[in-house]
């Protein structure tokens, strides 16, 4: 498992992919946080990282599928999946190794944003006047979200040997899971409490809830079960052969 994790991570950083992912994420976040006047902290005059945590999920919707799309698709296309599957290593270990390897790249991508936390901390008036609890909660929420998106990306990658197909389906899947239910709940077809039920099925609701700074069990359970469910589906797709 560790060997697969290492292999995945090395593959990112021995090619341009890893650096490109980090750069893309930081450029977008940086632009939205500091440059674009609509969203810039400097213009908004609030010492908060709401922009970071508002925009990051939308970037993840596209960025994480781009990271995960190669994980199984490439192995299938190049035939190296046959190499992996004929080595004495269980399928779930390959799966978890790949999952953690991909997720770790996302985590590494997030690490530099700590500088923004420090910057905003310094900019606060008085200095340090920011809601640390909210920030910790938001990072936790972002990690849970990244975990779910990575699982979705691995799942679609295990379905197709075409990376573009894997990417597109994963991006749609992540978007639907994140915002789809939220939008759906706003349609005037629900009565009583049902719109709230629908809203709660989406990841956005739980992400927003965790981001407030109180990490509640039901939100954690939501992310853990959905991620687990998608990974289980991936495991089925990987172990069952089409022939």
């Amino acid at each position: 498992m560790i060997s697969i994790l290492g292999k995945e991570l090395k593959a990112f950083f021995s090619s341009l992919i890893g650096y490109l992912v980090i750069a893309t994420f930081l450029i977008f976040i940086g632009l939205f946080m500091w440059i674009f006047t609509d969203t810039s902290i400097l213009d908004n005059r609030y010492a908060s990282l709401a922009q970071l945590f508002g925009i990051a999920p939308m970037i993840f919707v596209f960025l994480i599928p781009a990271i995960t799309m190669r994980s199984f698709s490439e192995e299938k296309q190049r035939g190296t999946i046959e190499f992996l599957n004929t080595k004495p290593i269980k399928a779930w270990k390959i799966l978890i190794g790949k999952y953690l390897g991909n997720l770790l790249l996302v985590v590494i991508t997030l690490v530099p944003t700590l500088i923004y936390v420090w910057s905003v901390y310094q900019l606060g008036a008085p200095k340090g006047n920011i809601d640390i609890g909210e920030i910790i909660g938001s990072y936790a929420g972002l990690l849970f979200l990244a975990g779910l998106f990575t699982a979705i990306g691995l799942f679609t990658s295990s379905l197709s040997d075409n990376q573009i197909v894997a990417f597109l389906i994963a991006a749609i899947g992540c978007f639907l899971v994140y915002l789809g239910f939220d939008y759906l709940s706003r349609l005037p077809i629900f009565f009583g409490n049902t719109d709230l039920v629908v809203q709660k099925m989406g990841a956005e609701y739980h992400y927003a809830s965790i981001s407030k700074g109180k990490i509640e069990l039901r939100d954690v359970v939501y992310f853990v079960t959905t991620t687990g469910f998608v990974l289980w589906g991936t495991w089925i797709a990987v172990t069952k052969h089409k022939w």
Partner: protein, 306 residues
């Protein structure tokens, strides 16, 4: 028996890739899998390596059924798939170290340098795999297959697409590797099988059509023998013709003849006795071997009986 394939059948949809295949391999054998494209060689190997399940029947390696003990089987085998899939972006050493780690080998560093030496990868070992020529890539493929010292080596067309020099080198490597383990390898090059294997299994359209030591396969196929015989003193051709089972005699010189035997009859002893009977001496006797190529073509071009 170390490798037992029992009544193995594999269906792709409704098409039978292999059909009730049974054979066994015992310790120390190098088995050649021979057959035209689509005969079921690759399918059989994929089942043996645990990559795909059989539709019915069972394959057993050292008492471990592949189906129920995939991990044990995968530890026992070294497998080089067809087309030799490799992580092209990796460096040779990096790749082999990954394989060693997956196998959880002790002294993995030493095993890596051992296999690099065994497969003659020395000078190329610091390169990226995508920089290597096909022959060297094949060596990398062989290196990953033998790094854990498997008891059974399964090689799917290890020499396809190599140039004649690389061909010779890889063959040498395979026969070296076969000295202390079972090797099952597939090929459609007859000379190669003839040169490397102790036994040959011929498949056609998913069915086993021959499983025998090379020599006997050739003579079994032969029907009639073509024998060149030299005597010390001249001899009448009629005397040879009079022997039982001699079909025709062609006089080459006064004392040497080319004899064609009747199908399935071995006349060599009689030719010897003839010399003794006439106080002559037999100084040479050559049975012209039918080539594996002929055997292969004869066996696989027969239309499948319904």
């Amino acid at each position: 028996m170390s490798v037992i394939v029992d009544n193995l059948t594999k269906l792709y949809g409704s098409q039978k890739a292999i059909d009730s295949l049974s054979f066994t391999v015992s310790e120390g054998e190098i088995i050649g899998f021979l057959g035209p494209n689509g005969a079921g060689k690759t399918t059989t190997m994929k089942i043996l390596s645990g990559y795909i399940p059989a539709t019915s029947g069972q394959a057993t390696l050292y008492d471990y059924p592949v189906e129920t003990h995939p991990l044990e089987v995968k530890r026992l085998i070294g497998y080089l798939p067809e087309h030799n899939p490799l992580y092209l972006d990796m460096y040779v050493k990096e790749y082999l170290e990954l394989v060693a780690k997956i196998h959880k080998l002790d002294h993995s560093k030493r095993r890596v340098s051992d296999v690099i030496e065994m497969t003659g990868l020395g000078i190329e070992s610091h390169k990226q795999i995508k920089m290597l020529s096909k022959g060297y890539r094949q060596r990398v493929g062989l290196a990953q297959a033998i790094i854990h010292q498997p008891k059974v080596l399964i090689l799917d067309e290890p020499t396809s697409g190599l140039d004649p020099n690389q061909l010779v080198e890889i063959r040498q490597l395979i026969s070296t590797l076969g000295q202390d383990r079972i090797v099952i390898f597939s090929s459609h090059i007859m000379q190669e099988v003839q040169a490397l294997c102790s036994r040959v299994v011929i498949l056609n359209q998913g069915q086993l059509i021959a499983d025998s030591p090379i020599d006997s396969l050739v003579s079994q196929m032969q029907g009639s023998q073509l024998i060149t015989v030299d005597y010390q003193k001249p001899l009448e051709s009629d005397q040879i013709k009079a022997l039982d089972g001699v079909e025709s005699v062609l006089k080459l010189t006064d004392s040497s003849y080319q004899v064609t035997s009747a199908p399935g009859v071995d006349v060599r002893a009689d030719l010897f006795d003839l010399a003794v009977h006439h106080s002559n001496r037999l100084v040479g006797l050559t049975v012209q071997k039918q080539d594996m190529q002929d055997v292969f073509q004869a066996l696989t071009s027969q239309p499948k009986e319904a």
